[in-house]
Symmetry: C2
Subunit: 248 residues, 2 copies
């Protein structure tokens, strides 16, 4: 079923006052419904904006917005001349919240504490520089930090910060706030790349995390930029017991 969302007349200038607000949401919902009820099958071309607008009794722009937002979450695919079609592989995406370590630990009812292992200004190694697209000799801050939950190692953090992008950090001692928290608070970013993988703990990492060398660790890497200015690259290592969860 698909009753017109708006009972408006057809093409005449609407006499102001009978507009139905929020209809782009209603249209979004209706389209979603048609997808889930298999009225429109994956891969199928759906009617054009003009047609849908006529069917729903609303403006084309309104349909446009509904479809645009559905395209954003990957449920439909749109191409100019070609039209809109239901995504073949509803390329679903999970939303992973990027947590502040402290909140994450505290959310589990554990006591949070961190300790700075090292903090030095130096040039980043080739690999890091390449990832951040920075020239040799760029001054960077290297901070290594251990996070605890109830005094048990929770995360080992190895971070490189592009000082020029966050000049205030040069004098930050990280006594009260971990680098993680500091950056979240004072260094906004617009782009981010994350990588998730499993790895075997090196001898040093194993010692720090109080596990056996070679034991599996969960590796979470993150690089962030503001516009195109690299900010920081961080490797976060968790012992095997860690589990990242997301539901939606």
């Amino acid at each position: 079923m698909s009753p017109p969302v708006v009972p408006a007349k057809d093409g005449d200038p609407v006499p102001a006052g009978i507009r139905v607000p929020n209809s782009f949401r209603a249209i979004k919902a209706e389209i979603l419904k048609r997808i889930s009820e298999r009225v429109w099958l994956p891969g199928e071309l759906i009617p054009g904006e003009e047609d849908l607008a006529r069917e729903f009794g609303c403006a084309r722009v309104t349909v446009n917005r509904a479809l645009r937002e559905l395209a954003e979450i990957g449920l439909v695919e749109r191409k100019r001349r070609a039209g809109t079609r239901i995504a073949e592989h509803p390329l679903r995406e999970a939303r992973l919240e990027i947590p502040v370590v402290r909140s994450e630990v505290e959310a589990r009812g554990a006591q949070y504490r961190f300790s700075i292992l090292s903090r030095e200004r130096l040039e980043a190694p080739e690999g890091i520089r390449a990832r951040l697209d920075l020239a040799a000799g760029t001054p960077m801050l290297h901070v290594r930090c251990l996070h605890f939950a109830d005094n048990r190692p929770w995360q080992y953090e190895d971070r490189w910060i592009h000082i020029a992008a966050v000049p205030e950090i040069a004098d930050e001692p990280f006594e009260r706030m971990s680098p993680n928290e500091w950056l979240v608070k004072f260094a906004p970013f617009s782009e981010m790349e994350i990588g998730l993988s499993a790895a075997a703990a090196s001898r040093e990492e194993a010692t720090l995390l109080a596990i056996e060398p070679g034991a599996p660790v969960f590796l979470f890497e993150r690089t962030t930029w503001l516009i195109d200015q690299p900010i920081t690259h961080v490797r976060m290592l968790h012992p095997q017991s860690y589990r990242m969860v997301s539901r939606f």
Copy 2:
């Protein structure tokens, strides 16, 4: 610096033809720039849409769209009456694409192949039942499957399917399509829970993935529901070389 994005006259009906397209992107960029250059600091209230529209020489709706999209990625916070302010804690979330194994392998330029290790109808063990919230005795389909990239083991999949939720699957031999692909194609879901962790390969898993027992593996678990009907629970095991990436 902030030259007006559009050189349009002030308030008179624009004589059609001198509009600047894409200006909402330009405005977005300009605002991002001001954030990154700390013209506007975190927590600060920025001018209203009306003001910005006047400054940029464009329509309020255009500024609205720019700001709306910035709010979507969490860089600014907007409240009616209260105005727009730069986000204090750009509490961001990463979007992890949930791929179809085959596409994922092929996207890396490798050749995809899978093989079914086992396929049996039986009752699920307690742990799985609990996770899916199903009663003892519920008939389920248990499928174990190995996915290859260029003939090297890529993923070991251990899946439980709630037959009542997807009755058509009872007779599916998975000869041409892997369970993963079949479900993606024919079993829509509305809710999903994913878990990411690192683990040590058991002897059996190690044999299947052609790695050493105890070697680190990347474990990706997923449970899906349609409304509140459980569909499937799957454990996907990747050898250490696997890396899940997301950028935006």
